[in-house]
Structure formats: C-alpha cells, structure tokens
C-alpha cells in the first residue's frame, strides 16, 4: 500500500503529464491543418501539369516514348524513397510506413537501396543494415518546394545514370484525421498511360475530352523539349506532395496519440484519486480508532483508579 504522500505525488505527476499531452494535441491539430492546406495548395499545379503532360505525350508519341524519364528497362536495381518523421510520439505512424517499405523490399525481385527523408526511416534502414544511398534528414518543419527539390533531383540523376532502373516512393497518404494509409508508389519511370494513379483522379477524366478537342496546338519550342521542361518538374512535384501528405499524416497521428495519452492520464488520475481517498479514509479511521481506543483505555484506567480508591475506603 503506497503512502498518502506517494499517492499525492503520483497524482500531481500524472496531472501535469495530461496537461502537456493536451497541449501537444492542440498543437498537432493546428499543424495538421496547416500541412493539409499546403497539400491542397499544390493540387492546382499538379492537376494542370498532369493534364499537359498526358496531352504532350499524346501529341508527340514518338518523342514521349523516347524520353529518358519514361524509359522502362529490365529491373536490376530498385531504389525506394522512404518518407518518415524526424520525431516520435506519433503512435504507429513511423512503424507502419517503415514496415510497408521493408515488406516491399522483401518481395522485390531486384535488390533495393534506400533514400530516406526523416530520421526514423534512416535509423530503421541503418538498423537492418540496408543499403542507404542518401539521407535528407532533418527536413525543415515546413518544407518548401525548394527543400524537397534536391531529393527528386538526386532520384532522377540516379535513374538517368542507370544505376537504378525503378524508383518507388513509400509515404503515408492522409485520408482523414482518423485514417492515414502508408503506400508505395512508383515514381520512375513515369507512367503516362494507364495504371498510374494521379494525385487528383478527376484530372484524367477531363483530359480525355481535351486531348481530342485540341489538335492544333502551337509548341514553343517543340513538344519533345517541352516534355523535357515539364517532366522533371512533375517528378519533383510528386515527391513534394508525398512529403506534404506524410507531414499531414504525421501530425494527425500525433494528435490522436496525444489524445489517447490524455485520456489514459485522466483514467489514471481517477484510479489514483480513488485509492488516495481510500487510503486517507483508512488513515482517518485508524486514527479515530486509536483515539477511541486511547480514550477507552484512559477511561478504564480512571475507573480502575476510582474503584481502587473505593476499595481502599471500604477496607478502612
């Protein structure tokens, strides 16, 4: 049975923990909203760029097929871009995407090397002694496009050099506050035809009508060179959006984790308070018993004295 003082101390500790976790929940909630807004803000560009890309690929079929970033090669080496958080305390968020990445690597027929964004992913790859090509941790708290660009550049460089034949990206899709889904998606070679899942599905539908309607575009310079300008930007954007989706997921995972922590702390405070009150009650009871017992003993002693005195008197 813990002492009263001990219980009091524990209640105080748990209460201050719950205050911290509640504050962290609020902070994560606002960060999540901001990350979400950033993701949304990048969509008009990606939607448009995707439309233009597919349009170009249709117009300049020969050159599109020849563009090095679209080239499908026999796969001898695969690279996986793993996006995680720099920090923990966000539930299973990091573990989920890391586990998915490792499962991907396990079933891949070609050897997989890693490119990591986020300390947690880097440490995980290092722990299993995976082939780490480069690490981009830590990311700024609010990554700008310019911060993410070098990652995509490096990936494209490796691909164009021929040192890897396919590049995938493992990140966490932000579906809503409660659901974040880790995913692996192919980044390179870029798929402009079917099978590719654009960030904004409706872009594809609109595109089909357009590709037919506009046959007489002027291109400056020519379509192949335009493709040369647009393709790398699109790849960069894919990475940027994956980073932002992951960021929103991280903050919402942390928010939920902190909410659970706050609830647990409150439950703990409840049970601790209960046993504190019990202990206090008990100590009061035993004190009262002590006092009552003492009083009783004193009364008996006094009575005994009187009787003794009476006995003495009677004897006289």
């Amino acid at each position: 049975m813990p002492t009263l003082r001990e219980l009091r101390r524990r209640i105080r500790t748990v209460r201050s923990i719950s205050q911290i976790t509640r504050a962290m929940e609020a902070v994560s909630a606002s960060k999540m909203r901001r990350a979400q807004e950033m993701t949304l803000a990048s969509r008009p560009y990606s939607q448009k760029a995707w439309e233009v890309l597919v349009h170009l690929a249709h117009q300049a079929e020969a050159s599109a097929l020849l563009h090095p970033l679209l080239e499908v090669r026999p796969v001898r080496q695969v690279m996986l871009l793993l996006i995680t958080a720099d920090r923990g305390l966000c539930g299973a968020y990091n573990d989920n995407v890391i586990r998915l990445a490792f499962r991907f690597a396990a079933v891949s027929r070609a050897p997989v090397s890693f490119l990591t964004v986020g300390r947690k992913g880097r440490d995980a790859v290092a722990r299993v002694r995976g082939a780490l090509v480069a690490d981009f941790s830590p990311m700024p708290r609010w990554p700008r496009f310019a911060d993410v660009r070098p990652i995509a550049r490096l990936a494209m460089e490796e691909f164009l050099k021929g040192s890897v034949d396919e590049i995938y990206i493992a990140y966490t899709d932000f579906i809503n506050t409660m659901i974040q889904r880790p995913r692996v998606r192919r980044l390179l070679p870029l798929r402009l035809t079917q099978g590719y899942e654009p960030a904004v599905p409706e872009a594809v539908e609109r595109l089909d009508t357009r590709a037919v309607a506009n046959k007489t575009f002027i291109y400056e310079p020519d379509p192949a060179q335009l493709l040369d300008v647009i393709l790398p930007r699109f790849v960069e954007l894919q990475v940027y959006q994956a980073v932002l989706e992951s960021l929103a997921s991280e903050h919402s995972a942390r928010m939920v984790a902190m909410r659970n922590a706050t609830e647990n702390a409150e439950n703990l405070i409840y049970t601790l308070t209960l046993s504190y009150n019990k202990a206090r009650q008990q100590s009061i009871t035993s004190e009262m018993l002590d006092i009552a017992g003492g009083a009783e003993a004193m009364r008996q002693a006094a009575r005994a004295q009187i009787q003794a005195r009476l006995r003495v008197g009677a004897g006289r």
Partner: protein, 142 residues
C-alpha cells in the same frame, strides 16, 4: 472583346485567378503578348515580368521559369516561382542584386558564377516588377 481567364499557379500555391483583357508573358524566346482568342499554345517560360491588364488596371508579377498553356479563353501559367508585385521586398531584392553583382565582379574562387548570374537576373526582375507597380500607383494617384 470578352475577357479571358488568367491563372497563375506554382507548386506551392495558386497565386492568381481572374479575368483579364491582355497578358504579356516572359516566354523563353522573348516576350509574348496574348489577347483573348489566341491560338492554342504551349510554351516554356523564362525569367521576367508578367503583365496582366484588366481595364485600366495593370497587374504585375515576377515569373521565374516554368511553362504556360494558352487556349482561346484561358491562360494558365505554371511557374517555378511567382510573386505579385506587392509581395516583393524591394530592400531585399536590392541587396541580392548588389551581392550578385559583387560576386560577378570579384569572381572569388569556389563560387558558382552561374548561380550568381541567375540570382542577378532574379533580383533584377523583382526590382523591375516592384518599380513598375510603384510608377503605376504614383501615376494614378497624382
């Protein structure tokens, strides 16, 4: 003439969307004037000021590379970096310009001259855009 829609977006945000009467854009191979009803065009953009005219109003933007799609009723600019004239910090742009000029003059070893050149070009465009807006404003109020 009926106006056309102008949209300026970057990877990070949608910067502008609205109806305008004319656009002058910094094409990779020179300035490009676009009026409503322009033939469909897809082009690479360079670094330079972009002017959009709406009635007697002039809107200035600094555009740093990207590409643009033109259809008869719509102009869509997908810029790498784009700023409204009123967002530009003149003091900072001026500072950047001086720094770049100094680097180009002194040519200290180990410094990327191309980067300095690009920085110089960027800061010049920013200053130009900011200046045009100021002239415009003083002209209209005075």
């Amino acid at each position: 003439m009926s106006p056309m829609r102008l949209e300026i977006v970057t990877q990070e945000r949608a910067l502008f969307s609205g109806d305008v009467d004319m656009v002058v854009a910094p094409g990779a191979e020179g300035e490009l004037g676009i009026l409503p009803g322009h033939a469909p065009l897809l082009t690479v953009l360079g670094v330079g000021p972009l002017l959009a005219r709406r009635g007697s109003e002039e809107l200035w933007f600094a555009i740093h590379g990207g590409f643009m799609e033109v259809t008869p009723e719509k102009v869509i600019v997908l810029a790498d970096v784009a700023e409204r004239a009123e967002e530009i910090d003149i003091a900072r742009a001026e500072e950047a310009r001086q720094r770049a000029e100094q680097v180009l003059k002194e040519r200290p070893p180990g410094v990327d001259l191309n980067a300095a050149l690009a920085a110089l070009r960027r800061s010049r465009v920013r200053l130009e855009v900011a200046r045009r807006r100021r002239i415009r404003r003083e002209g209209s109020t005075g």
